[in-house]
Amino acid sequence: MSFRYEIRFSGEGGQGLVLAGKIFAEAAAIYDGLNATQSQSYGPEARGGSSRSEVIVSDDEIDYPKAVSIDLLLALTQEACDRYYADVKEGGVVIVDAAAVQTIPEGNFKIFQVPIIELARQKVGKPLFANIVALGIIAGIVDVVTEDALKSAIEARVPKGTEEINLQAFQVGLQEGKKYLTSF
């Protein structure tokens, strides 16, 4: 049977989670020849507040483009984590920012506490790169999309002139992620 992998990127407005989702989807769809959809949800209030972006990857047609049972949840804030962990499926993966998420949810899933924002600050220079670092971490932990595809998608999507530093951020995440390596 065909596979369907659901990722939810969550955190707050301004953390670039929609971009992360788009890059992931493009990596899958354009460079890995899979199907992918990406969507986001708008909070009740347009400004600020929590933000979420979902990517579905599949080798078949993707009918319903919203998450139904999440394979992987990334949460960069406590609020986002609290709100979304319950949607993660049994045996799924939850990656949280180690500093921002202090209360760790319990459930039938693997949890990874990674100092994502800190890594971005220290090893890339700005917390702004947390979204790309997170992409690296995901690539390190799960095997849905190839590293090469993600790199190509990053190069194509980020603003001209920032390709280098973004790829560096990806590498930082990748290495960190590989420490937690799991198999898909």
Partner: protein, 271 residues
């Protein structure tokens, strides 16, 4: 210390607006103006359209009405004509008041109906993410003006004056104290009154136009504005690039809702 709590719906806070959005500063000036006049909350009715600024009505503990885009003035007209004893204050954005709502704006001015219209001019459509507005300066970027706005802009205040408004003023969020006074005068004026407030939008306007932080945007107001009193003593050339703030128009003309009450009196007395 001013007791804002008397006038706000505390349980709706924090405000929906972005960090640094000027609209909260205007809201505070408005509350102080209302307080200084001594208006009863029961007798104040605030009517807004749709837009970031129009979300203001949700926060004020009085009779509040959040209408449809561009139509706040029409609802307000109905309220004022039906119940003239209410103090009716319209909260609206540059897009709401002068793009989609432009017709009602000039007609209310023509009728000289006793409304106080506070226009939050951030030179952009904030709510919908930064599309060009009739006040976006020429050359500035907006999501629907990716090559820079090339349409001429409205002079919001000049338009109100030409249409027949009784009181017109312009303020900024930097000049907070003056703003409060202008709003107070506008509310007290018997007739159609407009206060155009330059209220920076760091998100939808600022980011795209590299205007810097809200501080940069407020400093620009500090540096670039001259009061109407001073402007009178300046030459055309000196005024170039400057923004005139303060009271711009203040005249007396028959007011619509009162004229109508007179008609009712006339009919009642059978004349």
């Amino acid at each position: 210390m001013f007791e804002y709590e008397k006038y706000i719906r505390k349980n709706k806070f924090p405000l929906v607006w972005c960090s640094g959005c000027g609209d909260g500063i205007v809201l505070k000036a408005l509350l102080r103006a209302i307080d200084s006049i001594g208006l009863e909350k029961e007798n104040v009715c605030m009517v807004s359209g749709i837009g970031c600024s129009s979300r203001l009505t949700g926060y004020v503990d009085c009779n509040t009405l959040h209408t449809t885009h561009g139509r706040a003035i029409t609802f307000a007209t109905g309220i004022k004509m039906a119940k003239p004893e209410l103090n009716v204050i319209v909260i609206t954005g540059d897009g709401d008041a002068t793009a989609i709502g432009g017709n009602h704006y000039i007609h209310a001015a023509r009728r000289n109906i006793d409304l106080t219209v506070i226009i939050f001019n951030n030179f952009i459509y904030g709510m919908t993410g930064g599309q060009v507005s009739p006040t976006t300066p020429v050359g500035m970027l907006a999501s629907t003006a990716p090559f820079g706005n090339m349409e001429n802009t409205f002079n919001i205040s000049g338009l109100a004056q030409a249409a027949g408004a009784s009181f017109v003023a312009r303020g900024t969020v930097y000049h907070t104290v003056m703003l409060e006074k202008l709003i107070k005068k506008a509310i007290l004026k018997n007739g159609f009154s407009v206060v155009e407030v330059l209220s920076p939008c760091p998100t939808a306007f600022g980011r795209r136009n590299k205007s810097g932080t809200i501080i940069d945007m407020m400093n620009e107001q500090k540096d670039n504005c001259v009061t109407s009193a001073r402007a009178e003593r300046m030459s055309e050339r000196e005024l170039e690039g400057k923004t005139v703030i303060g009271e711009l128009v203040n005249i007396d003309r028959p007011e619509c809702s009162k004229q109508y009450r007179k008609l009712i009196e006339r009919c009642r007395s059978g004349l």
